[in-house]
Symmetry: C2
Subunit: 211 residues, 2 copies
């Protein structure tokens, strides 16, 4: 079970670290954290992750996971990385994304004609790549699974763990990270947020996406 | 607003990265990722985080956060780190932990006589340090806030964000990471897990805690 996480500068750490905490504990899992160059990866929250492998060192994966970034255009003009994503996708059982990672799958040409999701503030942008935006936590389209913003990667990874290793294994992984969420407020999606806060954050995020 | 995250070898990445994604975006936040030595930190899932500062470089913090580890005894015998935790605690507005990070607070002598929580499988161990174990997602005891296992750090960070910056700011942070959890199963706490899976995982985790 070979699992490749794409790492890149300015990615969002939690998009990768949430699913990583689950998927790396699947029976027989071997995880590669892959980037253009191995070494430090500066995320958009200031903390520094580490890539272990260069793109050229990884030519196959059972699972591919693409995290998102506050600036959703980060990888749009990186032909080498997009070509790697297409090549790995041709070998995967599951190709997945978290948050605006789906816009990177889109830029790689892998979402044409598919239903997909992304961070709520970027949902319309899926149309640029010929995808049909679905405002859901997780969207499955054949072997392509896209998740909504940041924290949705945890739900996606548990869903994927059950498909791969069965529900009992997935439930043990859930129990292991004590994932029994109790958010102190119920404001985590556009339909639940206060309209004024939603507008304020949307304006700020759209500016970041386009910087 | 100075926020210090203690990093250490074999810590659990998500314990820190979940709250980090929220707290680093508080207005005016300055985050220090602090370890015995600055540089790469190998976490218990194989991925490598990075500490920016040595313990000796950080002498004060408004918020201190101690993540946990699969091996809960990791820092018990590190007098230098425990002394640093005590010294920083003396300066904090909030001293916090995620998962078995509370056992480190306990080893530092900071939980004597206090209610506290930790990962469900380690709950009894709080008594070793004179704390009263509470099986809750988040436990507040004066300025000490302890959270349950791994993913509970996200709930704790949002609770803390509201105390510091008000509920509207905290709700925007929740919306920013689209934290509207939809776990695919309801098995994330001991009271909800299948008894056979609970026993199996408990046996495995207790062995890890004591290794």
């Amino acid at each position: 079970m070979q699992i490749a996480f794409l790492f890149y500068e300015e990615m969002t750490a939690l998009d990768a670290v949430g699913p990583h905490e689950i998927l790396c504990r699947l029976p027989g899992a071997k995880v590669w954290r892959v980037a253009k160059s191995p070494g430090p990866i500066h995320t958009d929250s200031g903390q520094v992750l580490t890539a272990d492998y260069a793109l050229s060192e990884v030519v196959q994966a059972d699972i591919l996971l693409i995290p998102g970034a506050g600036n959703a255009t980060t990888l749009r003009d990186h032909p080498e990385t997009l070509a790697w994503i297409r090549a790995i996708h041709a070998t995967t059982t599951w190709t997945t994304s978290v948050c605006t990672g789906s816009l990177i799958l889109g830029a790689a040409g892998l979402l044409t004609g598919l239903k997909a999701t992304t961070h709520w503030a970027a949902l319309d942008r899926l149309r640029i790549w010929g995808a049909e935006p679905i405002p859901a936590r997780i969207v499955e389209a054949g072997k392509v699974i896209t998740a909504a913003g940041v924290s949705a990667g945890i739900d996606m990874a548990l869903t994927l763990a059950a498909k791969i290793a069965g529900q009992d294994v997935a439930e043990m992984l859930q129990l292991g990270i004590e994932y029994d969420p109790e958010p102190p407020f119920d404001a985590g999606s556009p339909s639940k947020a206060k309209p004024a806060l939603l507008r304020k954050l949307q304006t700020r995020l759209l500016a970041a996406f386009e910087k």
